[in-house]
């Protein structure tokens, strides 16, 4: 097995994640039920004409990928792999509304052109003039994890530099539908934070996190990405057995983990999946969460990985992420566990390097 190192990371999120110091200083627990990104200075990364044309998700993806590549000093990667649960929902919503409102007349192609799910990956390739492998995964809350699995396959197949990321954007129409069916929390349940909201649904966010993965460790390295596993529709009681098998494949037990990064999003109906592990196999392990900062979206777990990579590198766990308090001396093995509404379970294993 070839080693896979995270040598560069970039994030555009609901927090100021332009750099880690700024994030530690300025972080804020989200208090709204729908939260947009903290806008970076797009002009630093994208030509003004393109800024006007690109929807938020595309812009955020381009910026996050540029930051990650720059940090790892990569000009052109050998693959660009993107995960997005909802794709370009702003432009597809715009085109759809025009079709319906104008009875299929007076349409222009602009929104349609930008509406395909692979627009982010395509635009990154176009910007970098990168003619390499380029794929987009769109499987709900495991979109980003499938992208990671593909990247690991590539590294094991002798590729050296992979750009991989997760990106989703808030589209007004799709959010209004999700509100209609109770997927978004009511604003008034949020005042004490998502975990104390005692309500169904979650808090909607958006963002883009990209990672420069390489088969060689650079000075900028954050962590080693060891393995990723996805489980789409397993029974509740199978989560733990799948997890233990996943760890066993790497000769690890649950107690060998130094830190677990959990996807708790405050949905009282589904956080039980995390709670069950928190109170059993993880009860003596330091646990943290992050969706009170990032919001929930299909690729929010990429924010979790961004967080985990920073913690791995600094070997410090910020207090505002902690779900419990355990003494941690060295952080060597980190595990991310995420699921959405009882489906799309994923495990991601990191090792400090």
């Amino acid at each position: 097995m070839a080693q896979c190192y995270i040598n560069g990371i970039g994030s555009v999120s609901t927090q100021d994640t332009s750099n880690y110091k700024a994030f530690l200083k300025n972080h804020q627990e989200l208090k709204e039920n729908i939260v947009h990104v903290h806008k970076p200075n797009y002009r630093d990364y994208i030509k003004p004409a393109s800024i006007r044309r690109m929807a938020n998700g595309v812009k955020n993806g381009v910026v996050a990928s540029a930051i990650a590549l720059k940090e790892a000093a990569i000009e052109t990667p050998e693959a660009i792999i993107t995960g997005t649960g909802m794709g370009c929902t702003i432009d597809s919503g715009k085109f759809l509304k025009n079709i319906v409102d104008n009875n299929e007349q007076y349409l222009t192609p602009t929104a349609f052109i930008q509406s395909t799910h692979n627009t982010v990956g395509g635009q990154i390739a176009l910007g970098l003039q990168c003619k390499a492998y380029n794929v987009t995964y769109v499987h709900n809350a495991t979109s980003f994890e499938t992208a990671l699995i593909d990247a690991l396959l590539m590294i094991n197949d002798n590729q050296t530099t992979i750009l991989v990321g997760g990106v989703d954007e808030i589209g007004d129409y799709s959010v209004s539908l999700h509100q209609l069916v109770g997927l978004v929390k009511e604003q008034d349940t949020m005042s004490n934070g998502i975990l104390q909201s005692n309500s169904k649904g979650t808090i909607y966010g958006e963002g883009a996190q990209f990672f420069a993965l390489e088969n060689k460790k650079k000075d900028t390295a954050y962590a080693e990405l060891v393995d990723v596993s996805i489980h789409d529709s397993i029974q509740d009681n199978e989560v733990q057995t799948r997890l233990l098998t996943f760890l066993k494949n790497h000769e690890l037990k649950a107690t060998d983990l130094d830190l677990v990064i959990l996807g708790n999003n405050g949905d009282e109906e589904y956080d039980k999946h995390y709670n069950k592990l928190q109170n059993s196999i993880f009860k003596d392990t330091q646990q943290i969460y992050y969706k009170h900062l990032s919001g929930e979206y299909h690729t929010a777990s990429s924010f979790g990985l961004w967080m985990a990579a920073q913690i791995c590198k600094t070997q410090k766990i910020p207090e505002f992420l902690k779900l419990n308090t355990k003494k941690v001396t060295a952080i060597k093995h980190l595990l991310l566990y995420n699921q959405y509404r009882g489906e799309n379970h994923s495990f991601t294993l990191l090792r400090s390097c």
């Binding site: 660009i80 649960g85 909802m86 794709g87 597809s92 085109f95 759809l96 509304k97 079709i99 319906v100 009875n103 299929e104 007349q105 349409l107 222009t108 192609p109 349609f112 052109i113 930008q114 395909t116 799910h117 692979n118 627009t119 990956g121 395509g122 635009q123 390739a125 176009l126 970098l128 003039q129 990168c130 003619k131 390499a132 492998y133 380029n134 794929v135 987009t136 995964y137 769109v138 499987h139 709900n140 495991t142 979109s143 499938t146 699995i149 593909d150 396959l153 094991n156 197949d157 799709s174 539908l177 209609l180 069916v181 996805i230 489980h231 789409d232 529709s233 397993i234 799948r242 489906e343």
Partner: protein, 398 residues
């Protein structure tokens, strides 16, 4: 030559047939499936022609034995129908005897329902069930559940090359020993969204499309679903499986030229074909048949012709586009053409490029226009999409 990954089953539904046999019969009897649109109310119904599948949603629901309360998009219905045929065709009775995954592809997902109930779902509760079936991943989830696949399930969307990338990922996962068996393919239904999208790009033909013809006027959209069953050598051996063909080569490259248009010189397509040949460890001269992307848009066919010339030089193999039979079925196109490529190998026959009359002036390539008997060892199949995506698959005889 690399042996590749075994294909042990196939399933398909398209405008030229509801299963493998019907598709094959249509292909060899030059029976195309392009007609006026019937199932979607669109103001363009009199000016466009499409490859529409005969079954109504209601009929598919009955055939799949789904409850009345189901929230299936047409993409999911077609996908499940074809995937079930593939699993049956591979003689799989116990899906979880081996570590099995599903990788599907789509571009429209559940857009057919979203556009239909765009406003009404706010007023009436009964159609809100389709909100959950809008996402691209929904059809894959449903197909996986119906087949009993619980763990590795994913969805790819790279526009019109989507299912080529699904087949590629599946083959790579088997090669890497990550999985024993994987059902790979794609599904896309017709929708007002795509009809109007391609209409605004002015690349919809008002007549039967004419791939690779100098006077081609654009594409016919179509709907379809197709899946292949890929199995590891170990499973093939243990189960004494009949291998239909091997996925021996695959590659994906990006044109990095324009969000929707292909480059003049077909650079991305050239790279994809060359890389796939390298993976298959064969020379261009060993390709016996090219199933081209050939959408019949002025841009694609010209760019692809250039790419074919770049790769094959003076020795261009027999080639054809089957888009005039089925229409361009977007994310499903590579999967149905994978089925056609394997049928070509099995039956030793090339399928014609319908409606062709005049070669494109500056490339002068002439596709096969008649059903032609021929021994076929290797087929190369192209699929290209928005976002510069260019994918090539190579299928080889067992």
């Amino acid at each position: 030559m690399s042996k590749g990954v075994a294909v042990t089953g196939m399933g398909i539904i398209s405008s030229i047939g509801n299963n493998i046999e019907e598709n094959y019969q249509s292909l060899i009897s030059k029976k195309q499936g392009i007609s006026k649109i019937k199932k979607i109310q669109t103001i363009h119904k009199d000016v466009i022609k499409v490859g529409e599948i005969n079954y109504t949603n209601k009929e598919l629901i009955t055939l799949l034995e789904l409850p009345k309360t189901n929230n299936y998009s047409r993409t999911a219905l077609l996908g499940e129908f074809a995937a079930k045929e593939a699993v049956k065709n591979a003689n799989i009775t116990n899906i979880n005897k081996y570590k099995t995954g599903l990788i599907s592809a789509t571009s429209v997902g559940g857009m057919d329902k979203t556009e239909k109930y765009y406003y009404s779902q706010f007023e009436e509760t009964k159609n809100r069930k389709y909100i959950a079936s809008h996402d691209a991943g929904d059809a894959s989830k449903k197909i996986a559940k119906s087949l009993g696949i619980t763990d590795f399930v994913s969805t790819i969307s790279t526009a019109c090359s989507s299912s080529a990338n699904a087949i590629m990922l599946g083959a790579r996962m088997i090669k890497a020993g990550k999985i024993d068996r994987v059902i790979v393919g794609g599904s896309d239904c017709l929708s007002k969204f795509t009809i109007n999208g391609f209409k605004t790009l002015m690349i919809l033909s008002e007549t039967d499309c004419k791939p690779f013809d100098e006077n081609r006027t654009g594409l016919n959209l179509g709907e379809a679903a197709a899946f292949l069953v890929l199995e590891s050598d170990e499973v093939v051996k243990k189960e004494n499986k009949k291998v239909l063909a091997y996925v021996s080569g695959y590659a994906n490259a990006n044109d990095a030229y324009h969000q929707t248009a292909s480059s003049e010189n077909g650079e991305g397509a050239t790279l994809a074909m060359q890389k796939a040949l390298r993976v298959a460890k064969i020379k261009p001269t060993e390709i016996d048949y090219v199933n081209a992307h050939g959408t019949a848009t002025p841009n694609n066919d010209h760019s692809e012709s250039r790419a074919i010339l770049n790769v094959f030089g003076a020795k261009v193999p027999d080639f054809s586009s089957t888009k005039a039979y089925t229409g361009h079925t977007l994310a499903a196109a590579a999967a149905i053409e994978a089925v056609y490529s394997i049928l070509a190998i099995q039956h030793k026959v090339l399928f014609p490029n319908l409606n062709f009359e005049t070669p494109i002036a500056d490339t002068a390539l002439v596709p096969k226009t008649e059903v032609t008997k021929k021994e076929i060892q290797h087929v190369l199949s192209n699929s290209f999409g928005f976002g510069g995506n260019c994918s090539t698959l190579i299928f080889s005889k067992t």
